[in-house]
């Protein structure tokens, strides 16, 4: 039942608003609204009950194991939430003068420094509001860099075929054309193809390492050399930073610019879709181009750098400071971890992934890439099961839901058929991993003996399988009164 269906004309959530409506005298009638918006008219209790009940129709980290590859669904410490919501932060107007905002600015400055240290970059801007916006900022900086050198012919961005969709989409938003670079069967980038692809038109290469195939790109130094020698820059998509945190730094691998999805590696909540943060870091030569705002420290006081301080900046990406509430949560999480905790994140995320991969193999699943270390994630391909038993990765996913596990990422990366991209993260206990593998094995047996169970899944959730085709054809995007 929709909240609108609990409405009763004239009902209000008093006492949440001023009791009376003050006069709007003085505003020209033609500028005023004629009829009230048709919002729900419910009591506070009805709203509380409705949304409390709705919330329970979600899977979430707090209720289920959520091994969603590429998404790093780790535990979101509750203290990160409650401390980021202290009144001193919540009530701060974004245009508060810096002198009255020192507590917040100090956190942001520390966060920039810690991100620099753990990624090996020279400077960071916290402005981008998600990974994709971080990519935008990064690629825009690459563009600005070439332009500042009068190197205007560089109109192409290289992207491996395993890349996330945001990479090519970003390049296009920044005015570049995109060229795809193939990946070898062993998961590494095809270095020959890359060498042939680079040239004076190359603005840069966008790369995730470890890649979305769940393996570490071993030729990273050679790749960097090829791109740099062609005059291009190297962009690091930090979605998989969790796998290498404190183990190897993108800056040391030769990357010129990176974004970090703080909502992945640094455990800010995904919130059912966002908000996130895609903080961007750069090597020295790109520093002048960083998006604003950036926080600097002078004589023990903190202040925002302005366009006057940074005339070459690519500019602003949002009205204020990106997503401060997200940044605070990431900052708090990083202070929890400290330098020693950072390394452990990568270690145990990797241990969990490799353990599950070994178990998957032992239980007869086909790995997309065999005989390699998993990074913090790995891929099972169900192409055999699909061929033999006519069950799809989607069927496996839906059946997992029935068994109380969130499904892994399916059908990404695109080059692996019928794939499950599995990322357990370091915060899950071994029992959860084993339980999940048991479920997967059970489903495999069901696929062999009674594939109908898979096709009919899920059965235990609030709804059965939903008709997506109808949704797209008979568009119903808002409640019609």
């Amino acid at each position: 039942m929709l909240i609108f269906e609990h409405s009763s004309k004239g009902r209000t959530g008093a006492p949440q608003a001023p009791r009376e409506k003050a006069s709007l005298n003085g505003i020209d009638d033609s500028l005023l609204r004629k009829t009230s918006a048709l919002l729900p008219e419910v009591s506070e209790l009805q709203a509380v009950r409705h949304y409390t009940r709705l919330s329970r129709k979600n899977f979430s980290i707090d209720t289920e194991f959520y091994p969603l590859g590429s998404c790093t669904m780790k535990y979101n410490p509750r203290a990160c939430n409650s401390l980021a919501m202290l009144p001193g932060f919540l009530n701060a107007h974004p245009l508060t003068p810096d002198a009255q905002n020192q507590g917040f600015l100090a956190c942001m400055h520390d966060l920039q420094s810690m991100l620099c240290e753990v990624t090996g970059m020279a400077a960071f801007s916290l402005a981008p509001m998600a990974g994709a916006q971080g990519e935008f900022a990064g690629v825009a900086m690459i563009e600005a860099y070439h332009k500042s050198r009068g190197d205007e012919a560089r109109k192409e961005i290289l992207v491996p075929d395993a890349a996330h969709g945001t990479n090519p989409a970003t390049a296009v938003m920044c005015g570049f054309s995109v060229r795809e670079i193939p990946t070898l069967d062993n998961g590494d980038v095809d270095l020959d193809a890359l060498t042939q692809a680079v040239g004076p038109q190359t603005a840069g290469l966008m790369l995730t390492n470890p890649s979305t195939l769940g393996v570490f790109e071993r030729n990273i130094e050679a790749i960097a050399k090829v791109v740099h020698e062609a005059g291009g820059l190297l962009y690091y998509d930090g979605a998989n930073l969790n796998a290498i945190l404190g183990k190897i730094r993108p800056g040391d691998m030769g990357f010129d610019v990176i974004h970090s999805n703080l909502h992945k590696t640094f455990s800010t909540p995904h919130g059912g879709g966002g908000p996130g943060s895609g903080a961007v870091g750069v090597a020295e030569r790109l520093k002048p181009f960083l998006p604003l705002p950036v926080v600097t420290r002078e004589n023990d006081r903190y202040r925002y750098l302005t366009a006057k301080d940074c005339p070459q900046s690519i500019g602003r990406l949002s009205a204020f400071m990106g997503n401060p509430g997200v940044l605070l949560r990431a900052y708090i999480y990083m202070r929890f971890l400290g330098r020693e905790g950072m390394v452990r994140v990568a270690e145990f995320a990797t241990l969990n992934a490799n353990y599950m991969m070994a178990e998957a193999k032992r239980r007869g699943f086909t790995l997309a890439i065999d005989n390699r270390r998993a990074s913090h994630e790995f891929i099972i391909t169900l192409k055999n099961e699909a061929r033999e038993f006519h069950v799809s990765a989607m069927d496996f996913a839906k059946r997992l839901l029935d068994l109380g596990y969130h499904a892994p990422t399916t059908y990404f990366p695109l080059l692996v058929p019928e794939c499950l991209l599995i990322e357990p993260t370091e915060t899950e206990a071994r029992e959860a991993l084993d339980g999940f593998m048991d479920a997967l094995q059970q489903i495999k047996q069901e696929a062999e003996t009674n594939p109908e169970i898979l096709h009919a899944a899920p059965q235990t959730l609030p709804v059965k399988r939903l008709d997506e085709v109808r949704a797209a054809k008979q568009l119903d995007l808002a409640f019609a009164r």
């Binding site: 048709l38 009144p87 090519p168 990406l317």
Partner: protein, 472 residues
């Protein structure tokens, strides 16, 4: 080990299963000479007790002065229920609802959000959110360029009454795609963008081909634009209208879907704005969210996620992400935008907020903001040396011109516990010493009097000499 559950015993067993001796072996594909040594600049880890104390100290360092700043972020009351429910684990720690059957909570809520947002704006379609108001304007412009196939110019008219940071942000984001944002100056008496100015700028362009125009209501100065006549003119000239709105004030102001007088082509084509006034705390600048609505015909140009209602195998109602072929994870380089993660949790809060407030609650709140601003401005302008910059009625913020230097006045007010407004001198030097002063329903009569009396004292003191002494 913070947040890592492994016992020694388990580690040993797991390594055995994998067939390696140590965790370090798992990293043997990484070139040894590249391995990170110590992360010196990162302090050592803290317990929750220690982190809590640190953050409490930091939070306490922030000012708790009375806030009279608006300029794009507003200090509104948020019912306690809103964030208590929003931060329930099931909303807070869920991912994007790609697995629809396991995400009906988020999906239905988003559908309800879309329904509320279209009701508020009187537009046909809403997406599930963009990052913030400024970036949603940028996306609206990109969308207009894609949608207006008859126009080739990629020229957008943007009055300077549109929030300056919105204009800057839009510029950052659209400039790579060869789009030109053309400034339209405002009328100095009314502080609004007049139709005459729009016409003049349009005619100044060769060929007169304009792709879209932007109109903010209430505008950055708090004054009200003549939305009807400008919309009519735009539509007569094949110019798409992009409305920038404050979703709270639209509870009492004419919604963008009804702008214009001509019944046939009535309404803005795209409406965008920041959702912050509807349940998001100011929080030093975010997270907020960008609202983005459009006419039905433009839906396939919409960036970002959209939720649709459908049925399950048994014919039961359910909700899914729909029209995904617009998005980067399907369409890649041909997507409508690169956006992936949006501002879902803030939308969750906002949806609960709108449910609890209802239209009546929003209207009363908006009207209280208006009334409070009138009161404040009336009182402040009785002080010698303070006058309104424009002769129009303002909504809940007003530009005041001061005979003392704005920066020095604001600094003196802060020392009296008042965040007195936003200094306009950087963005609008032509206004001289001017500040933008905002009141919401949160500013009580006592607060307003406190401001007025602080301002009286400040203006009675000569501050001219101090103007230089306030760098930040």
């Amino acid at each position: 080990m913070p947040f890592i559950p492994h016992t020694d015993n388990e580690i040993t067993q797991m390594l055995e299963t994998i067939g390696v001796d140590s965790i370090d072996d798992l990293f043997d594909e990484i070139p040894a000479h590249l391995r990170t040594a110590v992360l010196d600049a990162i302090p050592t880890g803290m317990t929750e007790m220690e982190v809590s104390r640190l953050m409490q100290q930091r939070a306490a360092q922030n000012s708790s002065a009375l806030c009279f700043i608006g300029a794009g972020a507003y200090d509104h009351h948020i019912p306690a229920a809103v964030w208590e429910i929003t931060t329930r684990g099931e909303f807070y720690s869920a991912y994007t609802p790609y697995q629809a059957e396991a995400s009906q909570g988020t999906l239905q809520l988003t559908y309800e959000y879309q329904s509320m947002m279209t009701a508020l704006t009187a537009m046909d379609v809403s997406n599930a959110s963009m990052y913030d108001g400024a970036s949603s304007l940028a996306e609206a412009i990109l969308m207009a360029v894609r949608a207006n196939r008859k126009s080739k110019s990629r020229k957008i008219l943007v009055p300077t009454t549109v929030n300056p940071v919105y204009r800057k942000t839009a510029h950052t984001i659209v400039k790579g795609q060869n789009i030109e944002l053309i400034e339209v100056p405002y009328d100095e008496t009314s502080g609004t963008a007049t139709l005459a100015q729009f016409k003049q700028q349009a005619e100044a362009q060769q060929g007169g081909d304009i792709t879209a125009l932007v109109l903010q209501q209430p505008n950055f100065f708090g004054t009200l634009e003549a939305v009807d006549e400008i919309t009519d003119w735009a539509h007569e000239n094949n110019i798409l209208v992009i409305a920038v709105i404050n979703p709270l004030t639209v509870a009492v102001l004419k919604p963008p879907g009804e702008w214009g007088s001509d019944e046939k082509i009535r309404g803005a084509d795209i409406a965008c704005g920041d959702g912050q006034p509807l349940g998001a705390p100011m929080s030093a600048g975010g997270p907020y969210y960008g609202l983005l609505c459009c006419r039905q015909a433009l839906v396939r140009q919409m960036p970002g996620r959209i939720v649709g209602r459908t049925v399950d195998l048994d014919g039961r109602e359910g909700f899914v992400l729909t029209l995904q072929a617009r998005e980067q994870h399907i369409r890649r380089s041909k997507a409508t935008s690169n956006i992936c993660t949006n501002q879902g949790l803030v939308v969750t809060a906002s949806t609960i907020y709108m449910s609890i407030m209802g239209a009546q609650g929003l209207e009363n709140t908006a009207a209280a903001c208006f009334a409070n601003n009138n009161t404040l401005v009336e009182k402040l302008t009785t002080i010698a040396g303070i006058k309104k910059a424009f002769n129009s009625r303002c909504f809940h913020e007003t530009v005041l011109q001061l005979e003392q230097p704005a920066a020095a006045v604001l600094k003196a007010l802060v020392e009296k516990g008042i965040l007195g407004g936003y200094d306009l001198s950087d963005d609008y030097p032509e206004l001289g010493s001017a500040i933008l002063v905002c009141t919401t329903e949160m500013r009580s009569a006592d607060d307003i009097d406190a401001y007025v009396s602080a301002m009286q004292q400040v203006m009675a003191t000569g501050l001219a000499g101090e103007a230089e002494a306030v760098p930040c």
